[in-house]
Amino acid sequence: MKKETTKSAKAIRTRNNVLIHILLAVLAFIWVFPVLWVIMTSFRAEKGSYVSTFFPKAFTLDNYIKLFTDTTILNFPKMFMNTLVIAIFSCLLSTFFVLSAAYCLSRMRFKMRKPYMNMAMILGLFPGFMSMVAVYFILKAVGLTEGSLIRLALILCYSGGAALGFQIAKGFFDTTPYAIDEAAMIDGCTRWQVFTKITLPLSKPIIIYTILTSFISPWVDFIFAKVICRANADQYTVAIGLWKMLEKEYIDNWYTCFAAGAVLISIPIAILFLKLQKYYVNGMTGAVKG
């Protein structure tokens, strides 16, 4: 009798597990499906934007080769480099801004601290592109909307507002005991030295997290790049280039290359994530604690 009940409990557990795993497998398939499709399209040998079969009839690397060799109409390598440069510099700048702002708000007490945090909170509720037109005209007035200065303009755009996104990093810094800072200061450290020698080495996870998020936003941005680049094709970022490939004139010839481009732009992000994954998780949990 007793044996039977344990058996049936076990059976129930197994059954539940099976059901749950089937459900998870279905969900995972649905989730991976579009990604898989893009990857397969990028290797598809048949031309055109429409296919009647899910699996390509023939595979080829030509789409990738075309993307990097056929540069007279849509110069993908150039766009890729533009985006990479912009993303790297924006990433460095905004990481610095975010960490500095977070450190100040976590460690120092000053009159504007509360008002600043409230203001950041409220401003953060609005989407960034609301200010797009104003940003364009300001950049134009400063003379940053022509030629290679567009790259600088975009870097400024992406990193300018970074100091408003300090919340998570501040939460992390709050978890490091203030006593450590005090000890350092008794030993003669300045605030800057405390920040660089004590706080930062203790905060690797959150630095990584900040780097990741501030790299991705310029890397995938379309709307600011479109408004600021306008007709300067040599300054286009990949987002604009990929969008162009789907226009009526190009779609039939460039559709599979579009998929190839989409795969390629996901590579740097994927590498960053894989390399920094363990810190990423730590960073997020740290923030929750704070």
Partner: protein
Amino acid sequence: MRQTWKRRLSVLLAAVLLLGAVGCSGGGAAAGGKEQVRLMVWSPSEDQSKDSGEWLQTCCNNFAALHPEWDITFVYGVADEATAATTVSQDAEASADVFLYSNDTITTLTDAKALAKFGGKYADEIASFTSQALLDSVTLDGYLYGVPFTTNTWYMYYDKSVFTEEDVKSLDAMLEKGVVSFPFTNSWYLPAFYFANGCTLFGDGTQEELGVDFGGENAVEVTNYLVDLIANPNFVVDADGSGMAGLRDGSINAIFTGSWDSASIKEILGDNMGAAALPAFTLNGESKQMLAYAGSKAVGVNAHAENMVAAVELAVYLGSAEAQRLHYELRSVIPSNTDLLEDENVKNDPVVIAQNDTFDRTSILQPFVSKMGNCWSPVENMGKAIRNGSTTHDNAAEQTAAMNDAMNSDGIS
């Protein structure tokens, strides 16, 4: 850690300073004698690509050679005809002096006060080599706003091994012999059937106050015809490139599209590629001619151009016979210059014949009054409803009336 941070920071600062310095060091050195002219020119990227012969650069250099009195610096930018209007109207002052645009965007440009009028000897010169219909396509309130250089419309491509030249005059004959694909859910194409049976948009296309007439008995007849058409197994809806894919695998024998697809179709069908104006269809025993939307692409001059004379001269040159011929040779852009169309090579090109025949005979000028903006979605929805089977013979009258109401309304009631 500190060392790395410092290094990173200094690299960053150095880069920012460097970029700033580069920005300041530009700027004008002036030379004596000739007048310094800076012209910013925008065109689609194919016009500037090495692979297709750098049409724009060649033309601009020729233009500079024709005008030794100016020392011209050209600044090139990329904006295709369809989207140039949006980019220019975003900030006309910082846009190209000369650009190419498609005529259905003309009101976007004039509303932004971004388009210069052509008058006097320039207008006469343009009129001397352009047909009246084409001139009308870039004329607004009596003013000429550009130099048309090609017509812009859609027509039919077909497989010559399936259809004869006689077949392609009638849609019904075609449907008996092969599979025809039509962009049924695209409102740039679908109205062709309604125009065929006497429906009109804004009177002659410019009388905004007359509104849209897509209602009444004649429109209902067309809706009923379309319901039957979609049930025909030889009629396939072309959406998201399925027509082109069908042509490629041989399951479709005729599609409706424009000159932008002609290179791909040539590659697929080779010598069997045929192009023709739109066919007629039989409605209640009568033959009705389908009518496409037609427009043009033109060279426009920015009203804010600093050197207006040079900009207008360049625009006229880019629309001239010489530039059009080069455009045709390099990129198969179909010329519109009346003299050039008499040229033997041009005259016998099937795509040129089809496009110009469509423009002259089987099209209406696409209205560019601002209320035209209300006309796209209702027609698209009608196409989708017929395809999905929610519009049937039973409710055709009702659905057509609803479409007509929607086309005549701003969507705010």
